[in-house]
Symmetry: C2
Subunit: 487 residues, 2 copies
Amino acid sequence: MMSGPEAITNLLKRIPDASIIDDPNRLRVYESDGLTAKKQLPALVAIPDTVAALQQIVRTCYQHAIPVVARGAGTGLSGGAMPHPRGVLVSLARFNRILEVDEENLLARIEPGVTNLAISDAVSHLDLFYAPDPSSQVACTIGGNVAENSGGVHCLKYGLTVHNVRGLKILTAEGDIVSVGGVEYDQQGFDLLALLHGSEGMLGIVIEVTVNLIANPASVAVLMAGFDTCAAAADAVGSLIGQGIIPAGLELMDRLAIQAAEDFVQAGYPLDVEALLLCELDGSDDDVLEQVNLVEQHLRKCGAVSVTVAIDASERARLWQGRKAAFPAVGRISPDYYCMDGTIPRKQLAEVLDRITVLSTEYGLRVANVFHAGDGNLHPLILYDANVSGELAAAEAFGAEILELCVAVGGTITGEHGVGVEKIDQMCIQFSDHELAVFHGVKRAFDIKGILNPGKAVPTLNRCAEFGAMHVHSIQASEVESGMERF
Amino acid sequence: MMSGPEAITNLLKRIPDASIIDDPNRLRVYESDGLTAKKQLPALVAIPDTVAALQQIVRTCYQHAIPVVARGAGTGLSGGAMPHPRGVLVSLARFNRILEVDEENLLARIEPGVTNLAISDAVSHLDLFYAPDPSSQVACTIGGNVAENSGGVHCLKYGLTVHNVRGLKILTAEGDIVSVGGVEYDQQGFDLLALLHGSEGMLGIVIEVTVNLIANPASVAVLMAGFDTCAAAADAVGSLIGQGIIPAGLELMDRLAIQAAEDFVQAGYPLDVEALLLCELDGSDDDVLEQVNLVEQHLRKCGAVSVTVAIDASERARLWQGRKAAFPAVGRISPDYYCMDGTIPRKQLAEVLDRITVLSTEYGLRVANVFHAGDGNLHPLILYDANVSGELAAAEAFGAEILELCVAVGGTITGEHGVGVEKIDQMCIQFSDHELAVFHGVKRAFDIKGILNPGKAVPTLNRCAEFGAMHVHSIQASEVESGMERF
């Protein structure tokens, strides 16, 4: 740190309405987010009580060019909230109030530290809900959801976080408050609302979020369809959506995932199939009945060997329980697993699953597939044993090859978990140097000193050159100033 | 122009596969877009046949710092495609092919010069459509729709252009091709897709668009509800949507608009009411029947004195015909009118309509209201006579006051028509200097020389200072470089 770490600590400790942690034992709590493989102690943790205190913290850091990493609940899976060794980790935990529920405009205005599920809980008496539902929704916060543009089972029909947020207030790197969006859909000037979603804390710190609320559907049904091959289940996904039917959720589980889940929670899954589709339909009573019939017929035409329909809430919950427990269930059958997250066009699902099976044999590592099939959002879980020499490295290489495969078929290296530190090298494959240059330009526009979450999400062209994935036409002088990875 | 206009003309004329127009008589065709009050001849018009030719044109202009204004069909209403006196107007008219229809992923990949309606026409045999439907949809192009983030009657349910586009290819100011988005919803790196929507040709030139296709609904119904007061109709809008019912379209017409439309096209509107709501509902047969009942009951509870339901296609067309003909109908009862476009929170509709009535009396100018009520997107038509001294100026002052009123109640200065040159001063009211500074930073990130559509959409802080709406804390030196309005 410029001015010496102690001088900065003293400056920050003088700010009213903020707790400062510098005891190394207490800092340990913050050393990683959900990507626990990457650990780093921050220089300091700051927990402001008020926006004014947060503003003073950020302004002090800006003045002294100290990195600032914002953290919600730390449930992210790509290391986006991993601390910086010379930086201040700012916890937004105390910004946990729901400021306004506006029933007429179907909006809620909330602070960034409110948990995802708390929003729906706060409006359930109005028969409304907030749609995006990451599996961490009990713990993850709306500020983090915005930073990572989080998804979930219901995002197939209702959209990702970016499609459900109408307005944001952010604090810029310089500590200024900037309002983006609002109650109306169109944005004047440049539309910064989506730009800020998924920007992983690199463009600003979210201090207020205005979200859309949606009426609870009158009726919900879940169909479970078994298939003799993974390819048939995968092809049914694109074909069903090609009919113009957009389910509320459409998930695929392969044989290994089905067996692990069934052993763990006895969801009532058939064990004699190679793949299952779980399809949730919602709407009015009549509409759901009509859709259930259409979907059942269509899935049978696509080769489903069994179809079960659950209307009753407890039956539905039982079918979803297996899906929701699938990750820990896989954890029971392998010492370790590596959860991948890539997205591909739906029509490529069968081809990519086949290729993953071939790679699985080549690497000698089992894979369980359980994922948001309707979105084309894969979550292959690569099973390995960290105590067997070479298996972790093999799992990582296998994972990287899956991501590169996703890009090759026209997809992307992440569906909903973000880039963070985990996938920063794969960004060199995803994007051309022209495209990365535009990203660097945008970063500089928001954060000329590069203090906000440096080293995450967007690789420098130098890094890509070293990674070997890209021919670098020219290293722009301006990149050096942009502060991405400069600290 | 640097290097002299003739030298540039000669350079551009040497580019293969592009027509160059420099004859002043032929340039006249391009002197304005739909905002015909603002006219300006360009130095040159270029009509490239291929992306390679467009790329050479843009690179030549970049090298010589010549302004480039891209133009689709020129139907825009805010002057976004108004030429620059020392610049090249680039017509994208020849990029008019539909490149791919992907039924499985419900996507179409199209060139920017394809008209909005041509997309739906090209997929109607698959029972699909492209949802955003500006009233100019026969003529306006998808590239222009992206540049202005166009709306339409059906955007209440299906979203604006930005919600229906999945991917873009753009040409940067430097002539590089950059791909943004694709088939998947989440964006890696920074999400530039929404940023480019509504950026009015200032960040890049759209060369390819990938749009979402939607299944045609099985059933459609239109309800027409009459009210004794405009306020009751306005309040019914927020109240209806507050029930969680999102109609496919929800339009309000006041007495003057009803009378003008009825005189013009005999849509069968009641003439004894102060306001009409037109509400379109779509979905499955059963769902539409159920919704029609719910909406009718609710509107009656809100004070509707008459409700007519049209299920039959020709009956529906007749009801919509009056709405669609409302603007020309108003043109029949007044020598001139000024169409405003602002958006406000739905719950403020009644209050703002009341205030407009008061202003109408104060200015001595009649106003007809016919607008996308469900979106809170006002279109007050201010009636005036340009031949009566002072009436145009009064209409403009009245219009500006309406826009400022929109901002004051938490809305914005445009709903769907863009800022262009028309509303650039009102941007100073809408945004703080911090916010404008971020816009300028983003502009610089994409276009350091400021060649793309300079002088539109985002005012300089100097301009705002002169407009008197804002206290300028500091004119940033960098703003001078940004090229907004520098030419």
